[in-house]
Symmetry: D2
Subunit: 177 residues, 4 copies
Amino acid sequence: MGLKGGPTQDEVMAVSLQKLGIRPGDVVADIGCGTGKVSVAAAGLGAFVYAVDRRPEAIAYARATAADAGVAEIEFFEGDAVDFLAGAGTLDCAFVGGSQRLAEVLDLLAGKVRRTIVVNAVLVETLAEAVSCMQRLGIFREAVHVQVSRSAELGGGVMFRPQNPVYIIVGGAAACS
Amino acid sequence: MGLKGGPTQDEVMAVSLQKLGIRPGDVVADIGCGTGKVSVAAAGLGAFVYAVDRRPEAIAYARATAADAGVAEIEFFEGDAVDFLAGAGTLDCAFVGGSQRLAEVLDLLAGKVRRTIVVNAVLVETLAEAVSCMQRLGIFREAVHVQVSRSAELGGGVMFRPQNPVYIIVGGAAACS
Amino acid sequence: MGLKGGPTQDEVMAVSLQKLGIRPGDVVADIGCGTGKVSVAAAGLGAFVYAVDRRPEAIAYARATAADAGVAEIEFFEGDAVDFLAGAGTLDCAFVGGSQRLAEVLDLLAGKVRRTIVVNAVLVETLAEAVSCMQRLGIFREAVHVQVSRSAELGGGVMFRPQNPVYIIVGGAAACS
Amino acid sequence: MGLKGGPTQDEVMAVSLQKLGIRPGDVVADIGCGTGKVSVAAAGLGAFVYAVDRRPEAIAYARATAADAGVAEIEFFEGDAVDFLAGAGTLDCAFVGGSQRLAEVLDLLAGKVRRTIVVNAVLVETLAEAVSCMQRLGIFREAVHVQVSRSAELGGGVMFRPQNPVYIIVGGAAACS
């Protein structure tokens, strides 16, 4: 696709969704929804999803992804995540695939999310910021570094080609787990 | 737990289940079910699961895991996977967490599984055997190497402690994907 | 050994020394010398080494390591690296295995090291600090993340046990490479 | 460069050379010398090197690499490694960067190498073959999996781009270490 960053790797999405622990009926925010891949997967688990991205091309792409998948339980918000969250009600879970105002986003999410917040990060600086914000807010649970390598044939044998590693940072209300 | 090998890492299980692509109503075999963790997760996705292990202590452990989780849609088979499969009907998916007769198991699964077979391997030899068996059977799709590292606090900072890497080998009927 | 952190992994030391690019006759500082393993290896490449550590037990350990190896070209300094560097002359290379005052150490090294500075880091925070200090000083060249896994026998097969990953951050005078 | 496989990564070469443990005056064989990078590095450590490759373009490339580096202590052999080894005398160390007849090469090396044999492998099958050959010959010491990721700037931050992982398999006479 043409969106910067590309879609979330399937394996990283699987781990992120497992950390989110979405249950049918949950209300979920997908901050920086990009291609809409995570939103569609979350809706497939029975959640109602707010898909948020400030890039018009991302929202257009995500709308098409949802339409292709026949998923209706997604509401799209084109704009800044901070503006979306200022007006949002309580959420069960939130996934942050990307944000230029991560600290503010996490501040707002900490006051609105009942169960789990999951951030995906590629940059070391984003990892460090997500961990320190969550620690300051008292909601940090864990961070994992996931490195997936995929098999490829080479001269009749199998080698593994590494994908870019992703940090998955998990936070949540202290009362939940 | 006391079972050799220990339970599947959460992240590896999440990726394995995503590769399996279980749908509600599926019939799934969990070969070498160990602690029963994967069986319970598969049942939680709406599948009916046959949990197979030749170790009585594994079956006892897995029964307790299922009971704790309040899951009833698991049938336990204490014995060799080859014997179980000789008498089994068609399956939608199969997960192989461990087997001492992997080649025979994959031969039998190739004739009974309609959609997807996922093998988890820690040993290089198991990886090589699973890939070459699946290639010979014409059902090999991909192998991925998943390396998860978990954050740990050290002197006020964050480091990542690596977990043992796991190979996830995926096969399936040529007509499906 | 009893020192906190343990000795540098052989493979990480090999990569660090290759990045340092030590030549016979070089004057090298080993900041946070710990067990003395890197100092002895650097001396083995023909360098004169200042081994610096503020922990008396580290200096004692490193002295014993050097004596065991029959290496005489190491001068030991028990004390803070900032104090050592305040009084030190020009260096060809510097290895920083650990320091509680990393920013100050890098500031001082940037003014004294003619060729290459290599920092080993386990913590994400140390990585981030080393990179941003070196960028500010205009001496940042690269950082690499090295993850070594070692073969182990398991049930007649071979598995790989991952060691803790290490970041190797490399800086140098702009005129050199 | 145009050679299949490309040059050995610097970090992998550093670890391989450390495992080889070359000493000044050693006689070393570089089997499948490719670009000649390892041969030149080994010569730089004071060894006399036989650089062997059956591809004329590799030998031409390696000769140019050696000439550029001003290294004279390399003798080139264009042809099959098995033929080279049939006529070779005792060696101190051998590096195998690639061979289509690995089992035969290791058989011959086991009878001629006094200290250490190091094989680099990208394919799982090569790893498995090298380990099982060395185990059969009674010379297997260890295998390590080295995964290097290099820093890259992305949007003002630092991410790590993974390089292809390499297996380094080490064997040696039982009497040495």
